[in-house]
């Protein structure tokens, strides 16, 4: 530790206000950008989801095909 006490750490021999202002602005802006970007991603994701669900009403995620050629696995013995 480069400081003798916690109060010395806060005052930084008179340079405290300058140093702490910088760190505060740095943390606020960086955290704000991260938060805002994450929130926007969530919102976009939800908006997409809602619009897809409106296209296909609940209960059937994909439109039913008129005829299917699915291979049915039935036990042969």
């Amino acid at each position: 530790m480069a400081f003798d006490s916690f109060s010395a750490f806060l005052t930084m021999e008179g340079h405290g206000p300058y140093v702490w202002t910088c760190y505060a602005v740095f943390v606020i802006l960086l955290a704000g950008t991260v938060f805002w970007s994450a929130k926007r991603h969530q919102a976009t994701y939800r908006m997409c989801k809602r619009s897809y669900e409106q296209q296909n009403p609940k209960g059937q995620t994909a439109p039913k095909a008129a005829a299917t050629f699915t291979r049915v696995e039935i036990s042969q013995d």
């Binding site: 530790m1 480069a2 400081f3 750490f9 930084m12 021999e13 340079h15 405290g16 300058y18 140093v19 202002t21 910088c22 760190y23 602005v25 740095f26 802006l29 960086l30 950008t33 991260v34 970007s37 994450a38 926007r40 991603h41 976009t44 994701y45 997409c48 989801k49 619009s51 897809y52 995620t61």
Partner: protein, 247 residues
């Protein structure tokens, strides 16, 4: 090689890669940044001349590094946009421009607050400070230009040209302190030479620079994913992805 390059341009491929790397980028970035800043704030010795005010360097230098690096990355992406017309390159430019603006502002702000106790002034119109202010306006211009053009393709080209025109400012920022008389001192943190700094100050600085780069990588992936969702929302793969619940 070209095949790989074109695969790189596929938004679907990018989504998968981004999802794989993002947790590592976030965790690594946070650990390195917090370690670097705590070390720099509380444990690094004070400077013989400036005392404790020099501790601002641990956020000032990483911010300034990122501000310039992001612009260089944007310029490379702009070349790809203009020459190869690759969508992902344009997605990158649009996603990271606001982040670059934030880092440029941080570099200027922390520089001003640091300048007051050391130089005796908040601001001086020397070449380094002024060219950095121009970078701030360039980022602002890129964001504004992008917002003002509705057509996606025209916006992409116009923005790419503006980014490329502005790239001449980058060497000016870097060498301003060597070419002209400035109040700002020459670079302390150099990768090519022995640093002009004691090791116990240089290592925390290195940690915060690396941490901030990783954190930027995470932020860029996240913002690019958002932009891809918006642009490709009508495609089959995005629909499948969203309905499968994969973010």
């Amino acid at each position: 090689m070209w095949q790989f390059f074109h695969k790189l341009g596929s938004p679907k491929w990018f989504f998968g890669i981004a999802n794989r790397f993002m947790p590592w980028l976030l965790a690594g970035g946070l650990i390195l940044l917090v370690a670097g800043l705590v070390w720099g704030l509380a444990f690094a010795p004070k400077d013989y001349l400036q005392g404790n005010s020099y501790r601002i360097i641990f956020i000032h230098v990483p911010s300034a590094f990122l501000a310039q690096s992001i612009y260089i990355m944007m310029a490379s992406a702009a070349v790809v946009t203009l020459v190869w017309r690759m969508k992902l390159a344009d997605v990158f430019v649009k996603s990271v421009a606001p982040v670059g603006l934030m880092f440029t502002f941080l570099a200027l702000f922390t520089g001003a607050v640091w300048g007051k106790p050391t130089w005796g002034t908040w601001w001086v119109w020397d070449a380094r400070l002024t060219s950095m202010l121009i970078l701030l306006f360039l980022y602002g211009g890129v964001i504004a230009l992008d917002r003002s053009i509705n057509d996606e393709k025209s916006a992409a080209r116009a923005v790419a040209v503006l980014v490329l025109v502005g790239v001449v400012n980058i060497p000016i920022i870097k060498y301003s302190v060597n070419w002209w008389n400035t109040l700002h001192q020459p670079a302390t943190f150099k990768l090519t030479e022995k640093p002009a700094m004691a090791m116990e100050m240089w290592v925390p600085l290195l940690l915060s620079v690396l941490g901030l780069y990783l954190l930027f990588g995470w932020l860029a992936c996240l913002r690019m994913k958002t932009e891809i969702l918006v642009r490709e929302r009508r495609t089959r793969w995005v629909k499948d992805l969203v309905l499968a619940g994969r973010k």
